[in-house]
Symmetry: C2
Subunit: 362 residues, 2 copies
């Protein structure tokens, strides 16, 4: 009897229910987006971060928000990724901001500039030091909204066919290195080359180029550089804490309700932490394997690093002179870096120093 009444009441109120339905749908609308990755599927850690992100967004939205991830070049080539997002050809990209420094050098700061922050301080600057807000004020000019979405940690200084003993040995070296890092090394006599990942190995093998930087042990091992350019230099002084970004078309971002914006924000933070966690777990065995395969691990000579530091500051000054966005953001990063490392050197660095020297004793 009561049940019948309930059903009857429901039937009477049916029209109201149907009218109210859009309000329910409004909180969880079906969304289908496409995201281009700046990376090939074979780089499973960095490409995989976009898949981790998409899977979490789908799970958190109960399947309502689906983002299809495409490897670099399948629907958009990497060099056009942010333009494709800005013009809403696709809704999202997962790529390195510094690939687009040719559009505006300010893009470089979002990923890494030489002698900038390590991964942890980069996160601190982005999330807490105003970095995300500063970058997004800039990205908005390109109709983009950016969220940190992965980090590799300090990269390696690349694979070199010949040993280098001083800054003089850099003169005339043809090196595959992109972006502002190339501009800095150019001041030291290096001739920077832009070569896609798949073409680096044959270029090194034939001697068309003398050196190439890529990422770190786990990704580098896949490409087999140790067989053709055995000197493996560290650290990658041009990439202290390279951040990968999720870029969303700004209008699409603004159209999302607060629920979906929060879901994307949290999924990006998960992917950011997860990618760094994966590199830190996967790099050690890869490093062992590379050394067993003939890689000769070498630190850059001190005068090379010092000269690169001077050159980097010159490059920043030159870019700052003609670009107000670059100047204001790089000045902010530098101030944060100088303070950040003040504390970092005390407890963090001395702890790491001890553990590095004694790790195998316990």
């Amino acid at each position: 009897m009561k049940r019948r009444n309930f059903l009857k009441g429901a039937a009477i109120g049916g029209a109201a229910t149907a009218l109210a339905a859009p309000a329910v749908a409004q909180t969880q609308p079906k969304v289908q987006w496409r995201m281009t990755s700046g990376f090939p599927r074979s780089l499973d850690t960095i490409f995989g971060a976009a898949e981790v992100f998409a899977a979490h967004v789908k799970a958190m939205s109960g399947g309502n928000f689906e983002i299809e991830v495409f490897p670099s070049g399948e629907i958009v080539p990497t060099p056009q990724a942010v333009e494709a997002v800005g013009t809403n050809t696709i809704e999202m990209a997962h790529t390195c901001s510094y690939y687009y420094w040719g559009i505006d050098p300010t893009f470089a700061i979002g990923t890494a500039v030489p002698f900038s922050l390590n991964a942890r301080l980069m996160n601190s600057w982005l999330y807490e030091g105003g970095g995300n807000d500063l970058l997004n004020a800039f990205y908005a000019k390109h109709k983009l909204y950016g969220m940190p979405g992965g980090n590799t940690g300090v990269q390696m200084g690349g694979w070199w066919r010949k040993e280098i003993n001083s800054v003089d040995d850099l003169k005339g070296v043809k090196m595959r290195i992109a972006g502002i890092g190339g501009k800095v090394l150019e001041k030291l006599g290096v001739v920077p080359q832009q070569i896609p990942g798949g073409d680096i190995y044959p270029a090194l093998e034939r001697g068309t180029i003398d050196a190439a930087e890529w990422v770190g042990p786990y990704d580098d091992e896949k490409l087999g550089f140790n067989k053709v350019a055995p000197y493996y230099y560290y650290p990658g002084l041009w990439e202290g804490g390279p951040t990968v970004h999720f870029f969303v078309n700004l209008d699409k971002w603004n159209e999302l309700g607060p629920e979906y914006r929060a879901i994307l924000t949290n999924a990006a933070a998960y992917a950011n932490t997860d990618m760094m966690a994966k590199y830190d777990a996967r790099n050690p065995p890869a490093l062992r394997s590379l050394i067993a395969g003939g890689a000769k691990l070498k630190a850059f000579p001190a005068d090379v690093i010092d000269a690169a530091y001077v050159a980097a500051n010159e490059v920043y000054d030159e870019l700052s002179a003609s670009n107000a966005d670059f100047k204001s953001i790089i000045d902010n990063v530098k101030a944060f870096r100088n303070e950040g490392y003040l504390w970092y050197q005390v407890a963090e660095y001395t702890y790491d120093t001890y553990m590095i020297r004694n790790r195998t004793k316990g």
Copy 2:
């Protein structure tokens, strides 16, 4: 006309709509939980991580999943927090796993044990090295599900009334230090004391204790220790990457649908990254201010650290002899640490070394 038909159709279909409604509600049920923090509201960074988490969960669920956060002691005292969650007195706690090592020493590993992983390697072990799964298999015995939810980075070695120049100076020192760190220093002659945060200052001032460890510059400054125990030692060798956990009652966790489990997982990852970001941004000015206020920054003498390392390994062996969970998880952490620092020392450490020495030159 069409609109009328639509309304009529809706009215006819009203019963079906009403019956289908629970399916919609099932994907986003209203949930109201309570979470106790292990920390007072005054520790805004570490207490705040629970508020950040709750705010993100609420936003992602469109307001349907609400978690009320209570400071330590308001509904549950910190020492009873995991028991209260395990028995479902409250649904969640945000606290340090190592506070509960008296229940089982295995709890200590979830936060930090002496000479273990730094914050980044801890994340790597937890998310990618199997750490979360190993810990959750243990936590399940206490009806808990744990998620990493914050990190302080390497802590400081505490405030000391007198300078220490060798391990002999530790003999008889009454020090406020909790957990396994206290057990390790006990082997070096320290007399560990368990004192709540608010009682440390008067105990140091009166000389009832000789030393006290707390967190790092930002939190320590609030308590004014520099005025009564000026020697500020580093590093906190018993806490390399202390992780704070979100604990959920295991039955409550299992009752959640995949959507809400994903929402909690991602919000915890956001809080984890955000808390570390905040400490890294807030510690540098606090360190400057403490030094201006009379703190004397000192590195622990080398023989103190060496003796503590030996003692820590003895403590691990003793605990491992009688506790299979502790043994299997500490062995796993040690193996991960020894491999993790193998790679960390190459690019990461040399980069940091250079930046620390040269940060103010650019």
